[in-house]
Symmetry: C14
Subunit: 83 residues, 14 copies
């Protein structure tokens, strides 16, 4: 591997930047979706006949909460692949 110091710094910066973006960015959606799922479990136990309705609403709510996780993934890809 014949690389210069500048190339090394670029790869170093990209690895740490993408790592922080995806790593920290996974905290929020992970906890948020866990919270949604936990309350959906409670809701199903309270209204057994609404299992289907709650499952689909839970997935809608998860889809929105997932969005910032996907943004983080997008930024991490951009940092790693196109910078």
């Amino acid at each position: 591997m014949e690389k210069s110091l500048a190339d090394a710094l670029i790869i170093m910066g990209k690895a740490i930047g993408a790592g922080l973006a995806m790593g920290i960015g996974a905290i929020g959606p992970g906890i948020g979706e866990g919270n949604i799922g936990a309350h959906a479990m409670d809701a199903m136990a309270r209204q057994p006949e609404m299992v289907g309705t709650i499952t689909t609403r839970m997935l809608i709510a998860d889809a929105v909460a997932e969005s910032t996780g996907i943004y983080s993934l997008l930024i991490a890809f951009l940092i790693l692949l196109t910078l």
Copy 2:
């Protein structure tokens, strides 16, 4: 790759800046939307006949909470692509 040290520092700074912007910026909306979704699940279990109403209001509330996440995405794009 024939890059100078200055170019390396620029890419390094952009990667870390965008990574922090999107990574930390995903915490708030992720947790907030998870909180909205979790309480919506409870509300549906308490008022089964209001599932449609609550789902649309949940999405309205999510849209507002999502806004700072989108601002973060915007700033991360600006840092990566136009600086």
Copy 3:
């Protein structure tokens, strides 16, 4: 790209400054609006006939909580574009 070390430091500082401003600045409004939305869901389930009233008040409360997020966006733009 023929840039000097000084230019590199400027871009580095602007990227990190704007990233911190928007990233950290998204935590407060994100969590706050999530809290408002979550309690609005509860309120709707308790007073189904007030759905319209609560939705508009929720949006008013969200608008105020959003303000510091918008200030952060403004400062991030100022740092990135006019400094």
Copy 4:
């Protein structure tokens, strides 16, 4: 861009200082106003006939909680524009 190292350090310091001032300064008001709004939602559901009164009081309370956010904006402007 023909800038010296000293100019670069000045811009770097101003960007990071203003970013910290506004970023961290948005946490308190964001969470505080979210708390006010959330309890206002509860109060409206408990006393439906007081919606107007509570909305105006909520905005008064928000105005006070917003003040430190505006101070942060002011300091960030001072750092960026007049230093």
Copy 5:
């Protein structure tokens, strides 16, 4: 801009010092006033005939909680303008 390195360090130090003073200094009053306002909302819903009394007391309590925020603003001004 013909500035020396010493001037650059001074501006850098003042920007970061004032940014920390006001940024961190906004957390306490923001959360505290949010707490006061939130409980005032509850109190109004519990004692509707006391809305006026509670509003003025809320503002008195806010004024005291605001004081450390104003001290922070004062120190930030001192750092930026007179040092």
Copy 6:
């Protein structure tokens, strides 16, 4: 091992970047899935006849919460293997 300093910095940056991505990225899903699972246990104890339904819904909710953990794994692989 005949490696240059640049190669050493590259490996160092990749190890730390991937370590942060996966390490921090495991916090959110781990806590979130634990929350989902814990509430599923409660739900089963409250509605014993719904054990099958709740188990499958728990796994659906877990699958969504797992997603940001898998994104972190993906970014860590990308950092380690293809950068």
Copy 7:
């Protein structure tokens, strides 16, 4: 401005020291006074005829909680003006 490097370091140290003293020092009193005020709101709603008594006691309690905030202001002044 004809200042030496030593003068620059002095101003830098004083700005950061005073900023930390007042910024961090505003967290405790801000949250504490918010807590006192919030419970005073509750107390007023529970004992409407005691509004005057509780207001004066709230101010006494606030005065004590404010003391460490004033000490911080004092130390910040000492650092900025007499060091």
Copy 8:
């Protein structure tokens, strides 16, 4: 041991990277599985006849929550052994 400085930096980076990956990565699953197990204990005490069912479901939930811990182990192995 005849090692160059570059080799030393590589080993240093790998040790710290793998240490962070596995160390931080053990927080989430550890707390999550503890949460699942704790609620499973409660569930068993509430529904003694469901001990077998709850034990197997607890293990299913644990298996999912364990996954990010195993990803962390995998990344740590990759960093240590194949980089």
Copy 9:
């Protein structure tokens, strides 16, 4: 101002040391006294005829909780004035 680098470092160290001592040292007493005051408000609302007794006891409890704040002030003075 004709000061040497050593003098600058001394002033820098004293400013940061005193700032940390008083800033961080204000967190504990501020929150603690807020907690005492908040519960005193509750106690007064529960036992209106004990307002005088509780006020004096609150001040005794505050005096003890204040002590570490005063120690911090003392150490900050010692650092600033006699070192």
Copy 10:
């Protein structure tokens, strides 16, 4: 001890890496198992006749929660002994 600087850096990196891996890695399982054990105590007090069943299930749950602690131990051994 005739060691070169490179050897010193290797030992330094291995000590800190292994220390972080095991130190931070002990937080999650320690708190998680404490949570499991605490709820098991409650469960036993509620269902005295199930002491044996709950003890064995507690140990099963502990075994799973322990796993990430053992992974941390494994990585720390790998860092210390085979790197």
Copy 11:
């Protein structure tokens, strides 16, 4: 002031060390004594005839909780005056 660099570093180290010792050391006793005082307020409101007994016990409990604060003061004095 004719001081050498070594003297400057000594004063710097002593100021920061003593500042950390007393500053951080004031958090625990401050919060702890606040907790004791707050519950003493509650206890007095519940058992008005025990005001004297509870006040003396509160002071005994405070004296023990104060001890680590006094140790911190002692260490800070030792660092500042006798090192």
Copy 12:
């Protein structure tokens, strides 16, 4: 003491590594065992006739929670004595 700089760095690294391993590693088991013990006290007060059973189960649960603390001790010994 005739030691080289390399030896100094080795001892420095070992001291800090072992200190972090044992220091941070004591947080989890300490809090976890405290949690187990606290709930065991409650359990004994609720089921006085089960004191012996609960004490032995408490010690079993403590033994498992202690394990990661012992791993930390082991790693700290390895770092200090055999590296």
Copy 13:
């Protein structure tokens, strides 16, 4: 004061080490003893005739919780006086 740079570094290290040991070491016992004392206040209000018994048990519990604070004091003395 005719001291060398090495002596300055030794004093610096000892001041910061002892400061961290005692400062951080005061958090745990301070909060723990505050917790013990607070619950002892509650216990006295619930069982007035047990004031003596609870006071002595509170002091026994405090003595154990104090132990790690005294260890910290011991280590801080060792660092300052005998190293």
Copy 14:
């Protein structure tokens, strides 16, 4: 004191390492034992006739929770005296 730079670094490293080990290591046991003691106070108030039994069990539980604190003391001694 005729000491070399290497000796200074060794003492510095040992002071900071031992300080961190004992300082951070005192947090867990301090909070844990405080939790045990607090619940023991509650238990005594609920079952006055079990004071002796609960006191001895509290001390057994404390002894286990103390263990990691003693390990920290041991490692701190090893770092200070035998390294």
